[in-house]
Amino acid sequence: MQQGGKIVGNSLMTAENLSKFYQMGEVTVKALKEASFQLYEGELVVVLGPSGSGKSTLLNIIGGMDRPTGGKLFYRGKPLHQAGDKELTLYRRHQVGFVFQFYNLMPNLTALENINLSVQIASDPLSPTELLAKVGLADRADHFPSQLSGGEQQRVALARALAKNPKLLLCDEPTGALDYSTSIQVLELLKEACEAYAKTVVIITHNTAIAQMAHRVFYLKDGKLERIEENQTPLSPEKVTW
């Protein structure tokens, strides 16, 4: 596939008419309506949409935390929509790294230990100390989360997600709780993960500015994937402003 003048990889994930309905009392909430798309190896995708548009639902389904109510989802040709709990756990363990808005670090593990926690269950992990150096926290390895700033915590979370060496990095509002300059640092790291480590990175956000750094942008509204835009000239994060 041709994108921004350079070749990106093969298809990693295929979604066909993906739907998710929640039963809330007597009301059926249609959180996601028949979304179809592909994700490719090594691309950076930004999913944009207002609150309640179904972004998180989509991310949860892609990340194997939730199952679709309808439609099909294939990861490298394997059906995920029919997968059992065990298969989903293994999928999350080996293929997916998550980064959340509120970091979700283990409060009583140090930065390095938090990364080790995910290294322990990975089959082909990256070096925790190298990763920590990469996110610029080599000197903070022995600090507990409560001793780190928000940006630092988020960089540890990112290192933790990368440490398993997953194919897919899913980020739910990764800069939502951070100030501007810290956000840019995190976005730079995400960009580097995508390029240097050849990860497929999916960022969901309602910050439209971030879309400027993406290869492709998914627009969600009312649970519908309205359109997918290709970005021929992705900006580097330091040029993104809001």
């Binding site: 756990t89 509120f102 979700n104 593990l109």
Partner: protein
């Protein structure tokens, strides 16, 4: 509206609240039931003693003519003294497999104010010289008798008829034991018969003197001074013993039981309520942390601190009230069967179960107070929250290095999950201690109760399976000469072995210590009576010297080699003999000393004296043997060991069910603590645990962090439970030890194993509940929101 919120919150966290509720209810149940039983026991004991003029002292003499008794009334401090004849007889009951004994007590129908007066339940007064008697209520009921039935007794070698004209109870036989070796009253085989004094004289022709005296004292009189004077004046009449009311068997056992129940009725509920309070405290504290945001909104809305605090206290109030009412109600109902059990054992006329509104209400108040205190401790934090602050998420929990990390070798052995678990232990020290305590209690109570079960069986069964291994014991009504009686008994068909036994009441003295005990004299190579050491090795009674039971040795402050002086009431005017302690042996039932029979006979200068014979014989020949001797004048009793043992086993079965009840209580406490704390732990760490699952850990791997943590507490707690259980046994032993029973305080390994298994199972079940919760996590839900 807030009420509805409270009920829904409670329902949402029903596990922890339910555990709390159950424990409160159980504590209160024990409190109300036992407290009202104790109250009822105390009141009826006191009234009964008062109304029936219960004696302050009991004297046994060889014989004192009635005319000599009145003079004793002049002794300083004595209010009243009365004489009587007490004799055990057997009932003529050829069809009954076991002997039935009646203790005949002479009464003076003309006495206006009898000491130990019988409270007549039915029938009419006794008439002088008439061949009639009163029976104690229990015996009367156990044998389905009716008034005017005639009983045939064997006395003075003859069958004699007495008509039952009334039934009643005496303060002296509230707990009616035939002998110290009996342990529990058995109205099937033992009863009390009250017979007019002149009738007794016709039953036992030639009887002219009393063999017992009972006396009451003036207020403020000293028992010891009275005793000294009595000893002096009674010496010519063959004084055997003088004991105060405190040492009278029935009183002693009743008092011991009342004290025991009383201490249980306070200690147990306090323990239960404290545990429930702890669970409530933890649960509420957790709820308030979780509902920070809601509290902020309420405050922002204009709810006052007081209103919000009251709202959270209403949770505690609700639990305390429901638990308290349920427990007190159950306790009030439970008092009836408990009273029933005591009524079976204790013959206290006014003793009935009453619904006690006082204990019901004080139970509920107690429960509510405990709950509110716990609730306030848990909820007081809402007071200090500012609305704006409350709506912000709490500061992240500070991770810290812990002490163990200084030992880097140990620390490196742990993987990351392990380190997390270990650090978590110190994150909430109070809770870790609480879990430690819960597991410890669970283990200690269950191993203690099972050990008790083992020990009682050991104590009782050993006595009849390993120590006294004869088939029959023939007790003579007065000491007989050894040779002739053995020859006579051996001549019976089916008799395989006969051995003499001398049971001689003596006073042993060492320094200022003095004990009245029965010395048992047996053959050195006895095959029918084994004196055992603690490893069940047979000991031969020494040719010279005496073996003391451990408790007796302690009371006399004697060790091997100590010289004791020995005084026999059979030879009151004799000068004292001395005997050297040759060994100390364990003895659980009774408190005796042992000697080789011939050296005992020498010591009391009664060569050839024997008081009973032990017989081994063909089982089939037993009925004929018993029939032949039942009416013999010089035989007081024939006891069959097998029957005694099977009775004992029957009793132990009832007792066993009590043991299981206690064990169950232990397990419920332990389980409630472990369960509620692990449910809370999971709820508290929902986000953390969910994050691990998102990382790709399986629910099992996530659970293992929690379980590793629990085992880290659980295993030390189990180990700590051992000394706690031993301590419980020790203090229980102290409470129970008497001249009747000496309780060994070893924790049996089987009991420990069972307790270990039960405790581990409780932990495991609580972990299954945690596992279910973890599997039920909705990952996307948990992680989307802020805490």
């Amino acid at each position: 509206m807030l009420l509805r919120k409270m009920l829904r919150d409670i329902f949402e966290n029903k596990g922890a609240y339910l555990a709390c509720l159950v424990i409160i209810a159980m504590g209160l149940m024990i409190f109300t039931s036992f407290a009202s039983v104790v109250q009822s026991l105390n009141v009826s004991q006191h009234e009964f003693y008062e109304n029936q003029n219960f004696a302050d002292g009991f004297v046994q003499v060889a014989g004192i003519p009635p005319g000599a008794v009145a003079k004793l009334g002049d002794i300083e401090g004595i209010r009243d003294i009365q004489g009587r004849l007490v004799k055990d007889v057997t009932l003529w009951q050829p069809e009954s497999p076991e002997n039935i004994y009646l203790r005949l007590i002479s009464v003076d129908p003309g006495e206006a104010n009898p000491i130990n007066g019988v409270l007549l339940s039915q029938g009419r007064p006794l008439q002088k010289s008439a061949r009639e008697m009163w029976l104690d209520n229990q015996f009367f009921a156990a044998h389905n008798l009716s008034l005017n039935d005639q009983l045939e007794i064997i006395a003075a070698g003859r069958r004699q008829r007495l008509t039952v004209v009334g039934t009643g109870s005496s303060p002296e036989f509230v707990y009616a034991l035939r002998s110290m070796a009996d342990i529990y009253p058995d109205p099937e085989t033992f009863g009390i018969g009250f017979v007019p004094w002149d009738t007794v004289q016709t039953i036992f022709p030639g009887t002219v003197s009393f063999n017992e005296l009972v006396f009451t004292m003036k207020p403020g009189a000293e028992f010891e001074t009275v005793r000294e004077e009595l000893e002096r004046q009674l010496a010519p009449y063959g004084l055997i013993s003088i004991i105060p009311r405190e040492e009278q068997v029935s009183h002693q056992l009743l008092q011991m039981e009342i004290d025991g129940v009383e201490s249980m009725s306070t200690a147990m509920p306090v323990m239960f309520l404290s545990i429930a309070a702890m669970i409530l405290y933890i649960t509420l504290k957790r709820l308030i942390e979780q509902q920070r945001g809601q509290i902020g909104i309420l405050k922002a809305d204009g709810y006052s601190n007081g209103e919000i605090l009251r709202h959270y206290l209403s949770y505690a109030l609700f639990i305390g009230l429901v638990g308290g009412i349920a427990g007190s109600l159950m306790g009030s109902l439970f008092a009836y069967p408990i009273t029933g059990i005591y009524q079976d054992f204790f013959n206290l006329p006014a003793f009935t179960a009453v619904f006690s509104p006082f204990y019901f209400i004080s139970g509920v108040i107690l429960s509510v107070v405990f709950a509110l205190l716990a609730g306030y401790q848990g909820a007081k934090k809402v007071l200090s929250l500012e609305p704006a602050e409350a709506m912000r998420p709490p500061a992240p929990i500070a991770g810290k290095r812990i002490f163990l990390e200084k030992f880097s070798i140990l620390w490196r052995l742990l993987n990351t999950q392990g380190r997390m678990a270990v650090r978590n232990l110190t994150r909430n020290k109070g809770r870790s201690l609480f879990i430690l305590f819960g597991i410890m209690i669970c283990f200690a109570i269950s191993s203690f109760t099972w050990s008790m079960n083992d020990i009682f069986q050991k104590m009782l069964y050993d006595q009849y399976e390993k120590v006294e291994v004869y088939d029959l014991k023939v007790t003579f009504s007065q000491p007989l000469k050894q040779e002739s009686v053995l020859r006579e008994l051996r001549s019976n068909e089916g008799v395989q072995r006969v051995e003499p036994m001398a049971e001689v009441p003596v006073t042993l003295k060492h320094q200022w210590h003095e004990q009245d005990v029965v010395i048992i004299g047996v053959l050195p190579d006895s095959k029918l009576y084994n004196i055992l050491d603690s490893n069940y090795n047979r000991l031969e009674p020494p040719e010279n010297g005496i073996l003391l039971s451990e408790r007796l040795a302690g009371l006399l402050n004697a060790t091997v080699g100590t010289t004791l002086s020995l005084e026999s009431p059979l030879k009151p005017d004799d000068r004292e003999n001395t005997v050297v302690v040759a060994g100390i042996v364990p003895q659980y039932v009774g408190m005796n000393a042992y000697m080789e029979i011939s050296s005992l006979q020498r010591a009391i200068k009664e060569p050839g004296l024997t008081t009973s014979a032990m017989v081994n014989m063909d089982r089939k020949a037993i009925p004929a043997f018993k029939e032949k001797y039942q009416a013999a004048g010089n035989i007081a009793a024939i006891e069959e060991n097998g029957l005694r043992l099977s009775k004992m086993k029957e009793l132990m079965d009832t007792y066993g069910s009590m043991i299981y009840l206690y064990a169950l209580i232990g397990v419920i406490i332990g389980f409630a603590i472990i369960y509620s704390s692990s449910v809370i732990t999971i709820a508290e760490r929902e986000r953390e645990l969910a994050s691990m699952m998102v990382l790709g850990m399986t629910p099992e791997e996530v659970l293992s962090v929690v379980t590793f943590e629990q085992w880290c507490i659980g295993i030390p707690a189990l180990i700590l439970g051992i000394p706690v259980a031993k301590g419980m046994m020790g203090s229980f032993g102290q409470l129970l030890n008497s001249d009747l029973l000496t309780m060994p305080t070893t924790l049996s390994s089987w009991a420990m194993f069972l307790a270990f298994a039960v405790t581990a199972a409780s932990i495991w079940i609580a972990q299954r509940a945690a596992a279910r919760k973890i599997r039920g996590f909705s990952l996307s839900e948990v992680l989307k929101s802020r805490e």
